[in-house]
C-alpha cells in the first residue's frame, strides 16, 4: 500500500534529531509537526519571522498578527522569538536551520528540485523556496512518486523550471525513502507492500538498489 500523506509526514518525522531547528513547507511537510517522536525536542522556524511555532490556536483565539508562512493562524511555544524577514532568511542562509522539509513537482537524480512554476500556467511565485533550497544544509522532499497521469516525478533531469540545483538530500514519497547520492537515487526503504520492482518501474531517474530493501514499519 502506498503511504498516505499522513504516513509520509510520519516517516519524515523519524529523521528529526534532538535539538534540530526545522523549517516545514506548506502541505505534507506541515503535517510532520504532528509526529515529532517522544524525547525529541525540535524548534520550528517559520520564515515569515518566528522561531518556536506552536499548534493552531483554539477556536476563538486566532490572532491575525500571528501567522505562519502558509498564512495560517498559529500559536507560539515557550522560548519563541519574533524577528524580521531579513534575519529570518539570514539564519537560513547561514545554515542555522538544521533541516528543511518541502514538497516538489520534480526531483532529479543529482538533487535538483522543481516546485514553483509550470510553463503555461499562472505563476504565483517561489516565495521562500529558492532561498531555502539554496541555503539549507539538509533538505528532505515530501512528494508523490508519480503525477496523476502515473508518470515518474523522480527524473534523470527536471523538465520543469528549477527551484534549486543539487540540493535535495533525501526523498520520502508515497512509495519509498530514497537518498540522493553521487550515483543517483539510492533506495533506502519501501512502503509496506510495495515491491522494489514497482519502485523501479516508477522511477525514471537512475535508481540504485543494494542488498535487501527493508519495508517501513508504522
Amino acid at each position: 500500500m502506498a503511504l498516505t500523506k499522513e504516513q509520509i509526514a510520519q516517516r519524515i518525522a523519524r529523521e528529526l534529531r534532538d535539538g534540530y531547528y526545522v523549517n516545514l513547507g506548506i502541505g505534507i511537510p506541515t503535517l510532520v509537526a504532528n509526529y515529532i517522536p517522544e524525547g525529541i525536542n525540535v524548534v520550528l522556524q517559520s520564515e515569515n519571522g518566528l522561531l518556536g511555532m506552536g499548534p493552531f490556536p483554539f477556536e476563538g483565539e486566532e490572532d491575525p498578527d500571528l501567522i505562519n508562512a502558509g498564512k495560517q493562524t498559529i500559536t507560539t511555544v515557550p522560548g519563541s522569538a519574533f524577528f524580521d524577514s531579513a534575519m529570518s532568511f539570514g539564519m537560513i542562509r547561514a545554515g542555522k536551520v538544521d533541516l528543511t522539509v518541502l514538497g516538489a513537482m520534480e526531483v532529479s537524480e543529482n538533487g535538483d528540485i522543481a516546485n514553483w512554476k509550470i510553463p503555461g500556467k499562472m505563476v504565483k511565485g517561489m516565495g521562500g523556496a529558492m532561498d531555502l533550497v539554496a541555503s539549507a544544509r539538509n533538505i528532505i522532499v515530501a512528494m508523490m512518486h508519480t503525477n496523476p497521469k502515473g508518470e515518474s516525478k523522480l527524473l534523470p533531469q527536471c523538465a520543469l523550471p528549477l527551484t534549486g540545483v543539487k540540493c535535495v538530500k533525501k526523498i520520502v514519497s508515497d512509495l519509498a525513502v530514497l537518498d540522493i547520492t553521487p550515483q543517483g537515487f539510492k533506495l533506502i526503504e519501501r512502503a509496506p507492500g510495495i515491491s522494489v520492482e514497482e519502485i523501479k518501474a516508477k522511477t525514471a531517474g537512475k535508481l540504485i538498489v543494494e542488498g535487501e530493501i527493508p519495508e517501513m514499519q508504522f
Binding site: E47, K71, T73, S88, R93, M130, D131, A134
Partner: protein, 238 residues
C-alpha cells in the same frame, strides 16, 4: 523631532503617479491598511509596488489593483487574486517575481547603505538569467542590488512622535526592512504615544528612518487562512 501627521491622507499627500512604493506586510498580516485606503481614494496611478504579496481581490494591495493603480508588482508570491491574474494575462500589469529572502535582503541593503548583496537563492535557475554569479569558497552566489524606492509605507503596532516603531509578532515581517529602505518612510501605527513613552531598549525601527507617522483607525486585520484546533473539553468539576 515631531513627525506626527493627522491621518493617512496627509501622510501620502505627495505620492505621485509613477512612484515606486514599498509596502510592508506578509499576506494580509501587518499591512498598512489606512495608507492603502488613502492611496485608493487619491487614485494615484502607474505605481510600482514592492511587496511580498499582492493582497486578495478585496483587501490589501488587491484594492489598488482593482482600481488599476498598479503598473508593476515586485513580489515573491502573488497568491490568490483573480483580478491580478486577469491584468497579468492581459498585459496591463507587469510582475517581477523575486525569492523572498532576496526581497528582504535587498531592502536591508538599501537601509544599510550597501549597494548590492550576494545570495545563493536562485543560482542555477531562470532567476539567475543575466545576473552576475560569483563563487566564494566553492559556492555560487548571485549579485543582487539594493532596492531604490521613493516611499516605504509600513504598519507597526506602537510608535512614538519621534518615529520610533515596535511591531507585534509576525506582523513585523518586511515592515522594519522597508522602513529603513524608503527615501520617504511613512508609518501607520495602532497606538501613537509621545516621544519618551517607549522603552528605548525595545525599539525595532529607530525614528531616524521614519519621516511621517500617524495613528491608524478601523483596522480590519483580515485572516487569510483561519486554522484552529478544537477546544479541549472542559474538565467537569467534582
Amino acid at each position: 523631532m515631531n513627525k506626527a501627521v493627522r491621518d493617512a491622507g496627509e501622510a501620502i499627500r505627495d505620492i505621485h503617479d509613477g512612484a515606486v512604493l514599498m509596502l510592508g506586510g506578509f499576506g494580509l498580516c501587518g499591512i498598512p491598511e489606512n495608507c492603502i485606503a488613502a492611496l485608493v481614494k487619491k487614485g494615484v496611478k502607474a505605481l510600482t509596488c514592492i511587496s511580498n504579496n499582492a493582497g486578495v481581490d478585496d483587501f490589501g494591495i488587491g484594492l489598488m489593483l482593482r482600481q488599476k493603480q498598479v503598473r508593476k508588482m515586485i513580489s515573491s508570491y502573488v497568491g490568490e487574486n483573480a483580478e491580478f491574474e486577469r491584468q497579468l494575462l492581459s498585459g496591463e500589469l507587469e510582475v517581477e517575481l523575486i525569492p523572498q529572502g532576496t526581497l528582504a535582503t535587498r531592502c536591508l541593503a538599501a537601509g544599510y547603505g550597501m549597494p548590492a548583496i550576494f545570495t545563493p537563492a536562485g543560482v542555477g535557475t531562470e532567476i539567475a538569467d543575466g545576473k552576475e554569479i560569483r563563487n566564494f569558497n566553492g559556492k555560487e552566489y548571485l549579485l543582487e542590488y539594493a532596492f531604490d524606492a521613493d516611499y516605504a509605507i509600513v504598519k507597526a503596532w506602537k510608535g512614538d512622535t519621534d518615529g520610533n516603531l515596535i511591531y507585534k509578532e509576525t506582523a513585523r515581517n518586511f515592515n522594519p526592512l522597508m522602513a529603513m529602505a524608503g527615501k520617504i518612510t511613512i508609518a501607520e501605527v495602532e497606538e501613537l504615544v509621545p516621544a519618551g513613552e517607549l522603552d528605548p531598549n525595545m525599539i525595532h525601527t529607530p525614528g531616524i528612518y521614519v519621516h511621517r507617522i500617524f495613528q491608524g483607525k478601523d483596522y480590519q486585520k483580515r485572516i487569510e487562512q483561519r486554522t484552529v484546533n478544537p477546544r479541549p473539553l472542559p474538565l467537569l468539576a467534582g
